[in-house]
Amino acid sequence: MLIQNGRIHDGLGSVTTADLRLSQGLIQEIGQSLTPADGEEVFNAAGMEILPGFVQAISNWGVNGGIQEIRPSSNDNDEKSSPITPELDGFYAFNGRAATAQQLGAFGLTACGVAPTDNNLFGGTIAAFTIEGLNPYRMCLKRDIGMMSSVHPNLKKTYGTRPAAPQTRMWIFANFADQLRKAADYKKEDDKPADEKLIALKRVTEGELPLFISCDSLVAIQRVQEILSDFPKVKPVLVNGYGLTGREAWILENRIPVIVRTPTSPMDTEALELDLGAVARLMQAGVPVALSGSCGNSLNAREDLLWNSAEMMKVLHDSEAVLKMVTSIPAAILGIDQLTGSLRPGLRADLVIWNGNPMQTYQAHIVRTYLGGQVIYQEGDEMKCM
């Protein structure tokens, strides 16, 4: 398959007009005036914009529960029986058919992260999937991406009213520190059964698994920073972070990845507190910032990353930089950047051909979406219902 003459936005900041050859589900080569092989299908993308498929760092796609199930039930990424469940695997929350039913390819999305919610102090591990298929094992791009944790007041809302711990930030931070300390010190003793929670967390304290931390405020980020100073191997990823000013030395010096969302979810009063100017400052200073619609707690529009991008455009005024925030940066944070999230030879052919640049104009619509080299949506296709 040869896609000719498109303007290729690689998702890493560059734009070139070139040809792009797909083979066996991958991008085989990108170059000028590539010659079609005998019998090779050719698509003329002259005047069109080719973007990587969007990657939603933390999403609810494919997560069943509540009204989507035959009986009332909690969401499958929301194990609210205990606030400390680091031994759980977010992979099992994902239902391939439920994600596929949303027809996300028609909205430019090709990959999503699935994380335990931030209702738990330590919720379990994060996985990433493509957005179309049946078998989660085939759709999975990566498991064991990181450990989801939270010092967010959602913990208090979830447990405090039962009543159970935590009811206060005191409990949250004391146990955040205590669990990490116990994990760091943990050694399996032959005469005792293994502590699977501490074994899971030890991978965090040893730096094998990044720690994703949902923080509601700048103060929460500062407390996390203080606690993590005792655990130098931990690799933090900040999630939410309302109240960031973009001048936090800890984040700037260590280029700590940040995942934020603009207020595009219903009743999301919290996201109103996000200072987009601060996000722009972080990006301009080289901090990897990903835009994501939710943090596993809320349902989003399928257009969510487009709208998040529109908000960022109003402050960053740089469409290639904003594109990074919904493609290569979330892919890098999820550790799937060698698979997807940018247009480079050797990566999966997860790409979207638009008739205009959706970062800049609402007139941009999708001509074709490729997932692993297969066309999963093209203009004029019937839109799915449930």
């Binding site: 609810n60 207020p263 595009t264 104009t361 219902c385």
Partner: protein, 381 residues
């Protein structure tokens, strides 16, 4: 008194798009033309800027619902509460209105929630200014489907089904008709007047086609509403209207005063949320069906109107037609277009200054907002 000079005026009336000056005084637009006198006026240089009418949000609950659950718009004790009036629910000092101004919304149609089959009167309200109420009532609120079902089924009360909802709505309108007929027959004879009933009184302007029945309705519920509208010869607005693209032919009906689509900040659900079709805006507009979009504020998100215009454009709508969905179009559906919704001499001086056209450019920034000729928001540098 202000004169906005050299702006690109999206008048949204018969004048089209003009390069002109605009003068406003005493709360009204008093002059549009080139080289207007600036005597006694504060001059605003809008060269290179877009000037649009203030946005008119045709379906909102701002100032009456809080994210915390505190609310005054869903009286969930009786599925039939036509006697209620959203006017008494709204806190005009709510911070919601400051947020709305920053989105360019200068007038909102504030409605009771959708818990009840008939919920009460709806009114139109400015986001700021001295005289906030534009029109009261603008509609009578009704609701179909899962919301009234969900509210009452758990209490073992009707309506538990769509069957009962249709029955309750029809029964109410029949009673209003009887009440109205009795009143008319009584003429000036107080002996013959039926006992005063505020709930039935609130339905009379609906049956007289003075205001529409504003019906929360999704998918096939819209067809039920249309049947009832034809039966009683009333005007309706179909609000939310997810799935409207399934019924283009049917919706070309004089009983349909407008389709108020959205919000679209959700994924596909089953049942009445099983179709999410922002492309219906163009489909309806192309067929001459009045169409608008809503925030449903504060249930939904900041900038929802802009995203909804944007998505309609993505699905092929002309950006100026999309702008009409939140200005002249929504004002006409609410029947408040004699005051708001366009840049027309004599109308309220509610207008927005943008650096770019917001229905086209993702990075368009709202720079200044005027309500009743007063500057109520200015972007910080």
């Amino acid at each position: 008194m202000y004169v906005i000079q050299n702006g690109t005026l999206y008048t949204m009336d018969g004048q089209g798009v003009l390069q002109a000056d605009l003068r406003m005084e005493n709360g009204k637009i008093t002059q549009i033309g080139t080289n207007l006198s600036t005597e006694g006026a504060t001059v605003i240089d809008a060269a290179g800027k877009c000037v649009t009418p203030g946005f008119v949000d045709p379906h909102s609950h701002a100032g009456g619902l809080e994210a915390s659950g505190e609310q005054d718009l869903n009286e969930m004790t009786n599925p039939l509460t036509p006697e209620l009036d959203a006017y008494y629910a709204i806190n005009p000092d709510s911070k919601d209105f400051r947020l709305l101004i920053r989105q360019g919304i200068t007038t909102s149609c504030l409605a009771p929630g959708s818990a009840n089959v008939v919920g009460g009167w709806v009114f139109a309200c400015k986001s700021a200014g001295k005289d906030r109420v534009v029109k009261r009532p603008v509609a009578l609120k009704a609701a179909m489907g899962i919301n009234p079902k969900g509210c009452y089924a758990g209490k073992n009360q009707a309506p538990m089904t769509r069957m009962a909802i249709a029955n309750i709505l029809r029964g109410y309108l029949r009673k209003v008709k009887e009440y109205m007929d009795k009143k008319e027959a009584a003429g000036n004879d107080p002996e013959k007047l039926p006992p005063f009933d505020m709930g039935l009184e609130h339905g009379i302007p609906v049956l007289k086609q003075e205001i529409p029945l504003k019906v929360h309705s999704y998918m096939h519920d819209m067809m039920t509403v249309l049947e009832i509208a034809r039966e009683f010869d009333i005007r309706i607005t179909l609000d939310h209207a997810l799935g409207a693209s399934d019924y283009y032919e049917e919706l070309c009906d004089p009983h349909v005063q407008g389709v108020i689509f959205g919000p679209t900040c959700e994924p596909l659900f089953g049942g009445e949320g099983g179709k999410l079709d922002p492309w219906c805006c163009k489909g309806l507009d192309d067929r001459g069906v009045p169409v608008a979009v809503m925030t449903d504020s504060p249930v939904t998100v900041v900038n929802m109107l802009t995203y909804e215009m944007g998505e309609a454009v993505r699905w092929g709508m002309d950006p100026i037609r999309a702008l009409a969905m939140v200005t002249c179009g929504s004002a006409k559906i609410l029947n408040i277009d004699s005051r708001v919704g366009s840049l027309t001499v004599g109308k309220d001086a509610d207008l927005l200054i943008w650096d770019k056209l917001p229905s086209l450019h993702t990075d368009a920034i709202l720079e200044q907002v005027f309500i009743d000729g007063e500057s109520v928001y200015q972007k910080e540098d």
